[in-house]
């Protein structure tokens, strides 16, 4: 069992494994070129012509979030915190996804905006729009770079590829398929990737469970491990933050993770929302995040469970650095358990999910750059062909900057953590601004701008104070709960306060953007879509939430 420690974390791929890998990337590029024939307009390129069925956009929605960083990170959390990690999947995702589908999507899709910043422009004003468009664009390319760097690290560890080779090859593949195929290509690959990553994780979980004697055997072993019984419960030890491995109490989990962090991420992150905007009609758009909620409920079975298996079977897991860090839980199990063949599928799934994560960032970036920066402020009123071309240039530019970030990140170990943390700062105030603006028609344009800016500065200030040790927290996690909470409250208070001193927008300009103002001039906001029950977003959403609660019961 300690083999991994001695031989280093190097997977022994044979020719068949490489064949599986090569077949995948040939397919990915083929999809890009096939999609190219279908692209005639900029809307095709950026929004897939608003023509995709709900199951495709739904799987792409969950896949855009199922990047390899997420998979490896959640397995690591599973190994470190046990079943408490389930909160990230259930309370920390499902309610927000359902809320996005039922409550917010009518405004997003119904107003026919092409991006989240564009919604802000119409609800508030141009300064709000510029601030959000620029911060989003910068965040996306930097995060794309972080993804790329993480991909290179894993290729280096598993296959022994040089960092720079991996960075360039990964970037070239993503660049090619997005530049030629646009969002369609990114979305199709996300759907494909979803199945491939599952085909890699399922055998890992099955064999792992056989090894530890099934779920019962696993739980028994966890009880006897240093993690102990506390790691096998989700809520019962959260009365105080000292009693559970996560170091958080139920208030922090419920409001910090379950409300502010989760709603901020899922409902305003354009890289996610864009998937729903490409759906073929309102009903499909509303079902997109809700369909995504169902796989989200079950994915912990193939991430947290392997994490726990790794925690009890791999001796020495949890080292500060080297091969035995928590982040390597899944690669270590792959090395330990998978024979050639399924090993190739698993490696392919892992690489595919890196590319999907990066593609989501890049396709979010090129849309916002083209529509919200270039078309809105730099070159207005050109032909659609012109913006389609700009979109392709933006993709190339975004990937090149991403490569630059990846190389910078490779020089400074911790920088990528900082970057990710920094940009998570944008989400909480953005959600506050959105939610107040959507439900309170009096909220003024300048209130939008100041609540966004001051909310962001508030959480930035707290983060800097944390980095410089001016304020201490039990864990980085606790800091992120507090940061999100402070940003949220600041943004709401500022939104209300500024509204009393600045003029509102006329109601006519807010139709379709604000709750309670009816829809647009020619109908209601909620298009009564397909009538059958299994296409009813509210019913499906309710089922998802009920399932999330029910799933908690056996692991209370």
């Amino acid at each position: 069992m300690a083999l991994a420690a001695e031989s280093g974390l190097r997977l022994d791929l044979d020719i068949i494994d490489y064949l599986i890998l090569v077949l995948y990337f040939a397919t990915v590029l083929g999809v890009g070129f096939a999609a190219r024939r279908a692209i005639k307009t900029s809307a095709d390129f950026f929004l897939s012509g608003r023509s995709l069925p709900a199951w495709v956009t739904g799987l792409a929605f969950v896949s855009a979030n199922l990047g390899a960083l997420e998979i490896l990170g959640m397995a690591a959390n599973g190994a470190q915190y046990g079943l408490l990690t389930l909160h990230y999947y259930w309370i920390g995702a499902v309610p927000a996804m359902v809320f996005l589908g039922i409550v917010m999507m009518p405004f997003y899709y119904g107003s026919k905006v092409r991006s989240v910043p564009e919604f802000l422009k119409r609800r508030f004003n141009k300064p709000t729009h510029i601030f959000n468009a620029l911060s989003f664009a910068v965040a996306q390319v930097l995060i794309a770079g972080v993804n790329l760097f993480a991909l290179a690290l894993i290729l280096d560890a598993l296959l022994g590829w040089q960092l720079w080779v991996s960075i360039l090859v990964g970037a070239a593949i993503v660049l090619t398929y997005i530049t030629v195929g646009g969002l369609s290509s990114a979305i199709y690959n996300e759907v494909l990737q979803f199945f491939v990553i599952l085909a890699g994780l399922i055998p890992l979980t099955v064999i792992g469970l056989v090894k530890v004697g099934g779920i019962d055997g696993l739980f028994e072993k966890v009880r006897q491990s240093p993690l102990g019984d506390a790691a096998l419960h989700t809520w019962s030890n959260t009365g105080s933050s000292a009693d559970n491995p996560l170091g958080a109490n139920w208030i922090g989990i419920l409001f910090g993770l379950g409300f502010v962090l989760s709603f901020g991420y899922w409902t305003t992150n354009f890289a996610e929302v864009q998937r729903a905007l490409s759906a073929k009609n309102m009903n499909a758009a509303r079902r997109t995040p809700i369909i995504a909620a169902f796989p989200k409920l079950l994915i912990p079975g193939v991430t947290i469970i392997p994490g726990l298996i790794a925690a009890v079977t791999i001796t020495g897991l949890g080292a500060k650095d080297g091969d035995l860090t928590y982040n390597n839980a899944i690669p270590l199990l792959m090395e330990d358990l998978l024979p050639n063949g399924v090993l190739g599928v698993a490696v392919t799934g892992l690489l595919a999910s890196f590319m999907a994560g990066m593609a989501a960032n890049v396709s979010g970036f090129n849309t916002v750059f083209t529509y919200d920066i270039w078309q809105a402020y730099i070159k207005k009123g050109r032909s659609d062909d012109y913006y389609l071309r700009i979109g392709r240039y933006a993709t190339i530019g975004g990937v090149i900057i991403g490569i630059g970030t990846a190389f910078i990140a490779s020089g400074y170990g911790n920088i990528m953590e900082y970057i990710q943390q920094l940009f998570s700062l944008f989400n909480a105030p953005l959600f506050a601004t959105f939610i107040v603006g959507m439900f309170w028609k009096r909220m003024t344009p300048w209130a939008g701008f100041w609540s966004l800016l001051l909310g962001f500065l508030a959480s930035l200030a707290l983060y800097v104070a944390y980095l410089t040790d001016a304020i201490t927290f039990n864990s980085a996690l606790e800091q992120s709960f507090w940061g999100a909470g402070v940003a949220f409250v600041t943004a709401v208070v500022v939104a209300i306060a500024v509204t009393f001193f600045t003029p509102s927008k006329p109601e006519d300009e807010l139709r379709g953007l604000v709750y309670g103002l009816g829809g647009t001039s020619n109908g209601t906001v909620v298009v009564s879509g397909d009538k059958v029950w299994w296409r009813n977003p509210v019913l499906l959403g309710t089922i998802a939430v009920v399932l999330a609660i029910a799933l908690y019961i056996p692991v209370w």
């Binding site: 068949i16 064949l19 599986i20 077949l23 995948y24 397919t27 083929g30 999809v31 096939a34 999609a35 024939r37 279908a38 692209i39 005639k40 307009t41 900029s42 809307a43 095709d44 897939s48 012509g49 023509s51 995709l52 495709v56 119904g110 107003s111 026919k112 905006v113 092409r114 564009e118 119409r122 369609s184 199709y188 759907v191 494909l192 199945f195 085909a199 399922i202 055998p203 099955v206 064999i207 056989v210 090894k211 073929k280 009609n281 358990l337 998978l338 024979p339 050639n340 063949g341 399924v342 599928v345 078309q375 009123g381 659609d384 913006y387 647009t520 001039s521 020619n522 109908g523 298009v527």
Partner: protein, 96 residues
């Protein structure tokens, strides 16, 4: 931006329907399924031992083959339709 939106709407080419993601997934998984199943038939004892006695290549190969065939069957039973204008919700006025 009103002008552009209208142009977009007219030229909506429904990119997704010209080639179908079900064919892509189905095709890739059938190929993967065949490769991994054949591999699984000839797995050595060492490989089976590594997988804790589970003939994982055989099972996963058959599983992937079945998934791939299901997607192709779905495509056959419910082929992509040409874009249907009523399917695309066009009732909203364009932006701005």
């Amino acid at each position: 931006m009103a002008d552009n939106d209208q142009v977009d709407q007219k030229k909506l080419s429904a990119a997704a329907k010209l080639f179908d993601v079900r064919r892509v997934i189905g095709g890739l998984f059938v190929v993967y399924g065949v490769i991994v199943t054949i591999l699984g038939l000839f797995d050595s004892q060492a490989e089976i031992d590594k997988a804790q006695g589970v003939r994982i290549n055989l099972w996963m190969g058959l599983g992937m083959l079945a998934l791939g065939l299901l997607f192709l069957l779905w495509l056959r039973l419910n082929p992509p339709q040409p874009p249907d204008p009523s399917d695309i919700d066009d009732t909203r006025p364009p932006a701005d």
